[in-house]
Symmetry: none
Amino acid sequence: MTQRGFEKAFGYTFRDRELLQTALTHRSYSSPHNERFEFIGDAVLNAVIARRLFEQFPTLPEGDLSRLRANLVRQDSLHQRALALSLGDYLLLGEGEQKSGGHRRPSILADALEALFGAVWLDAGFDAASEVVLRLYQGVLVQLAPGQEIKDAKTRLQEYLQGRRLALPLYALINTAGEAHEQHFTVSCSIDALRIRSEGSGSTRRAAEQVAAEHALEEVANS
Amino acid sequence: MTQRGFEKAFGYTFRDRELLQTALTHRSYSSPHNERFEFIGDAVLNAVIARRLFEQFPTLPEGDLSRLRANLVRQDSLHQRALALSLGDYLLLGEGEQKSGGHRRPSILADALEALFGAVWLDAGFDAASEVVLRLYQGVLVQLAPGQEIKDAKTRLQEYLQGRRLALPLYALINTAGEAHEQHFTVSCSIDALRIRSEGSGSTRRAAEQVAAEHALEEVANS
């Protein structure tokens, strides 16, 4: 859980380590915190995704481009990407936030990921931030088909397996932690035919299954 | 009213003249028109202004930065800049739009200006687009400077005490934790005359002092 470990997953090594530190600092912990970075990170994310969609879909009208982008940059989507990076493990939170499960709160994770994009922009310029964003979004970007909603990971995994006439994955709850209104679920995803077993966790069982399916898709892609 | 004349006012000469042509073409005239360019132009404008405000106001909270930006990028503001460039004279509009005064319609002018920012981004990259945007916004940006910056907490606390002819606060380091490049400082702020003693922490001593000062100001306000 060192910051170096995070940088490896994130795919970027900061020259100025204070920028990384600030991006990971929630306002409940200390100042400077990541809210100002989030402001520019949101802007660079929107610009990078806009340009990428513009190029990927050369004839798609502006309204459709806007809708596609809105899907990609909304909290839910950022949250998925933050979970895949285990970003929660590296966040600096005040005591109260820590105790109430702030490490797993979707808004805190999504905001911190935006702050990280902003920090890369400050550290090494627009093109560096663009590379980081596009790498993290590569998986969803290649799946995009204009005019249709972005398919979630479970759907994509299911379609992949059906296309190969393989049995559907089995999802099983393996752990539940936390109190009633702040529960945290860990789920496994098993694909016997491919000898793949992945795990995922999240604040709902459904969210945990999506993360597990995302990890299974990564294993499929790497196998 | 040649396009070369417009480029002179706009401060940018296009390498690919088709990009300029498309940016000036309203959807009522022909296809390709400027709506898709407007999509990426809006994104690059938002990013450039976000970054500029972030740097111009180093201590302004995220909410204030957002409000400042919203003022600068709204249709009204873009319309003003389009008028200064006589952009309406260069627009390609369908006959109906021409007759109904489309050359003067704020939304058409604002959208075309955004499309032009997008076209520069496509033509020569983000930094080129950034230069064009900042040159056109220079006049409003410098006017923002003086009154709008919020003073940092230490300065506000000092001014409060000086206004009451009280001794300045004493800041003292009370704890340092963590390894060399990941240190965490806790600092106290004592104002003997008011029997106030607050604490703050942060990743630098200076940041910790700001937080302690902020807490002292809260106590002052509540006493």
